[in-house]
């Protein structure tokens, strides 16, 4: 496996850094405080091509390979301070657009993908429920077939993008007795009668990415909006999680790199007791740990791209990467905060926001504990 970016990938990475630094960093402190989603940033990202990175050009995307996509995401993560917006883009891409691309009918692809790529549509994903979080397939949301429709009833929680989304990928069971074989995926448009976006959920971090619950009450969905076969929603869900776990982490490679660079600059310039604080071994050790984590994380993420481009299943590798990168990110954010001392604790520096944003990464797309369960199962334990 070659970890060096190709010339084209290097250009994509640098273009993403340049774009994000120029276009995505306005007023982040206020927007984070007030939980403001940036529609302007969303449209700029769409114009840049971010919403259609892996989608073929015939559906309005850029048709990039997965390693190319990871390189772009790494660049966006380096350049952008608004990691809530990047999180929203990832939710849109991996849990909505990509499932349509992989499992959708030709009609569904033609109907939805162009709008999802050009930013006119915002995608969301309704899987978690109040009583089905990590135990996701214990979901209660029910879909009953009635003629040419399925009628959905249930509540979905922790739905990223829900307050601003136009299209939801929703999972429901057609028969709870069938367990995983009963789970089915559906595409639900926002204005469908019976779908209500209810209370918004205020978060600790990623506050510029809006989240809410959705309630489905006798919500009739045409059979044409079923995504994949009846009873095969688990395949759709697991495929989307595999992509998300792999690709959402690429943003964090960029963030960790930028954080390392700014921390090095700080410990060189900040002087205490007559010398740069980096000369104190206890401070330098934190920098070294940040460097080691970044170098250990990067191959894990790019390995997923390498495997998926060869059509190899990457369930275990995605979980290994998700587990290690998210935990490393939190540790490095803690180190960055400590290195910056009292200044890092101040909102204006942005270091505390990055820590708050990072903490979610050990929870969403499957907690650290769930990733360990998946890896253990893949090892036959």
């Amino acid at each position: 496996m070659d970890l060096e970016l190709t010339e084209n990938q290097r250009e994509l990475y640098e273009a993403a850094v340049k774009f994000a630094e120029a276009e995505l960093n306005d007023d982040v402190i206020r927007r984070d405080r007030d939980e403001v989603f940036s529609f302007d940033g969303w449209k700029k990202c769409a114009h840049f091509g971010a919403m259609g990175l892996p989608v073929p050009s015939e559906y309005g995307g850029m048709g990039l390979g997965i390693t190319d996509v990871i390189a772009v995401m790494e660049g966006l993560g380096y350049g952008a301070r608004d990691h809530g917006l990047l999180f929203s883009i990832n939710a849109h891409l991996w849990t909505n657009s990509l499932p349509i691309l992989v499992f959708g009918t030709e009609e569904q692809k033609r109907k939805y993908l162009p709008g999802l790529c050009n930013g006119d549509l915002i995608g969301a994903n309704g899987a978690s429920e109040p009583d089905a979080g990590s135990d996701i397939f214990a979901m209660r949301t029910h879909a009953e077939r009635r003629g040419d429709c399925y009628v959905l009833n249930g509540t979905k929680t922790f739905v990223s993008n829900a307050p601003v989304a136009n299209l939801f990928a929703v999972y429901a069971t057609v028969d709870a007795r069938l367990g995983a074989m009963g789970i089915t995926a559906f595409l639900v448009e926002r204005d469908t009668p019976g779908l209500t976006v209810t209370r918004g959920l205020e978060k600790m971090g990623l506050r510029t990415s809006p989240m809410a619950e959705i309630v489905l009450e006798n919500c009739a969905i045409p059979v044409a909006n079923r995504l994949g076969r009846e009873g095969r929603g688990v395949q759709v869900f697991e495929s989307s999680m595999e992509w998300e776990r792999g690709c959402i982490l690429a943003n964090y490679l960029g963030l960790m790199r930028r954080q390392l660079e700014t921390s090095i600059e700080h410990v060189r310039n900040r002087r205490q007791f007559g010398q740069p604080i980096g000369k104190f071994q206890s401070v330098a050790n934190r920098i070294v740990d940040m460097k080691v984590r970044l170098d250990a994380c990067r191959p894990l993420v790019y390995k997923i791209g390498w495997m998926k481009e060869r059509n190899k299943p990457a369930m275990m590798e995605s979980s290994v990467a998700k587990l290690f990168v998210s935990e490393s990110l939190v540790s490095s954010c803690m180190d960055a905060l400590q290195i910056h001392g009292g200044y890092g604790y101040m909102v204006e520096q942005g270091v505390e926001r990055e820590l708050r944003d990072a903490l979610g990464s050990t929870l969403y797309s499957g907690t650290t504990e769930i990733q360990r369960n998946i890896v253990a199962k893949c090892l036959g334990i």
């Binding site: 028969d175 069938l178 009873g231 036959g380």
Partner: protein, 82 residues
């Protein structure tokens, strides 16, 4: 029939029981009722059976009556292909 059983055994060992001795997975070893396969793993096995043998398995056909042993799955595949 024997060929189907061996293919199933190989796949189950690779996907769900890595490191297990092949001799421990017998034709009548319970797969679901013993906990070797949960419902998500069963779905993965169903997908393999569909793709490998070119058949379609309905949700109600994937219960323990057909998918609890290599014997049962092989018989089911044979009946579907007949």
């Amino acid at each position: 029939m024997d060929n189907i059983k061996e293919e199933l055994r190989q796949h189950i060992l690779e996907e769900f029981l890595p490191g297990e001795k092949p001799s421990n997975l017998k034709d009548d070893t319970p797969l679901r009722t013993s906990g070797i396969l949960d419902s998500v793993a069963t779905l993965k096995l169903v997908t393999f059976v569909e793709e490998h043998y070119g058949i379609e398995v309905e949700a109600h056909e994937a219960g323990v009556e057909n998918f609890d042993s290599i014997d049962g799955i092989a018989s089911f595949v044979k009946s579907k292909k007949a």
